[in-house]
């Protein structure tokens, strides 16, 4: 597993390719492989899935905690990628493009999850809130997690990309196709809402 300063290492057909944390722009991509995959070469397509699946899993895992959810969304991302490969220009920043597709897919799924959660809270059974057995630290982390999940995906995604994925504002703006000012405003609002949520709970 990748720790804070150790780069994530991906095994790709025998060779080891380091992927820098929070730097989706600096990953070496075989241009020839992309051209072949665009031409319908299934072995090239499989190689691309193999090379980039750790990056996609890692990014999705920032927003979803259940492995099955992560796997399902990752499959959706690669199906989208492989069915729209004609939109990829081999000379462009392919990992950045893939990161954008991944974040957009996560955004759609988070919106769906949020709608389901709202419906459950409105019409579903009342859940037990007895947490007397949990440790104080776990309890505060649970509150933070709940606060993060309660955030609108529009605010949650930039906050998670900044604080957990350690992307720069510029990288987030490119990934989300928004201006840097917009990202800064969203980050500010997300932090404020999270602090307010925690303040209310305490």
């Amino acid at each position: 597993m990748a720790s804070d300063d150790v780069p994530l290492v991906v095994e790709t057909s025998g060779s080891v390719t380091p992927i820098k944390r929070s730097a989706y722009t600096n990953v070496d991509v075989d241009r020839e492989l992309i051209v072949r995959a665009q031409g319908g070469d299934s072995s090239a397509q499989a190689a691309i899935v193999e090379q980039f699946s750790p990056m996609v899993f890692r990014l999705i895992g920032r927003f979803f905690r259940v492995r099955e959810d992560v796997e399902d969304i990752a499959q959706d991302v690669f199906i989208k990628l492989l069915t729209r490969f004609d939109q990829v220009r081999p000379d462009d920043n392919f990992p950045g493009w893939l990161a954008r597709v991944t974040v957009n897919t996560c955004y759609d799924e988070l919106r769906r999850t949020q709608r389901r959660r709202t419906a459950m809270e409105t019409y579903g059974p009342e859940l037990s809130k007895d947490r007397s057995s949990a440790s104080p630290e776990a309890d505060s982390f649970d509150r933070l997690r709940a606060g993060l999940q309660a955030l609108d995906p529009k605010l949650r995604i930039p906050l998670v990309l900044k604080e957990v994925e350690e992307m720069s504002v510029e990288e987030i703006s490119r990934t989300m196709a928004l201006t840097q000012t917009n990202i800064k405003v969203r980050l500010f609002r997300a932090r404020k809402k999270l602090a307010k949520f925690l303040g209310e709970k305490e």
Binding site: M1, V49, P54, R62, F78, I79, F141, L144, R145
Partner: protein, 114 residues
């Protein structure tokens, strides 16, 4: 504040990695999807709305053409009289108000031919 930092640090350590069969599953899903491709899937998403609009307009024109009868250019009286008109009369009826000497000469010539 420290707790928030600690929380984000813990979140950073939570990394999912694909299992050994992930690529096969994606490729299998892709080939299954390729088998199910219909005409609609072949049209790119941004072009679909244009295509729908074009088809709808075409259907509208077709419906107008089929269900709204074409207005005849001549009424029943004109149509009956038209069959009885000679070329000179036709020429006089279709001529303009300010037909000059040339026009009269032309009519005389036509009368002569008859």
């Amino acid at each position: 504040m420290k707790k928030i930092e600690e929380f984000f640090r813990q979140e950073r350590q939570r990394v999912f990695l694909p299992d050994a069969y992930f690529v096969q599953r994606v490729m299998a899903r892709l080939s299954r999807k390729a088998e199910d491709v219909g005409v609609w899937d072949m049209v790119r998403k941004p072009s679909r709305s244009v295509l729908v609009l074009a088809v709808a307009m075409l259907l509208c024109f077709f419906a107008l053409d089929v269900f709204i009868p074409v207005m005849p250019q001549l009424g029943p009286v004109d149509m009956t009289l038209e069959s009885e008109q000679g070329p000179v009369e036709t020429r006089v009826l279709s001529g303009t108000e300010d037909d000059g000497q040339e026009f009269i000469q032309e009519l005389i010539a036509m009368e002569g031919e008859q």
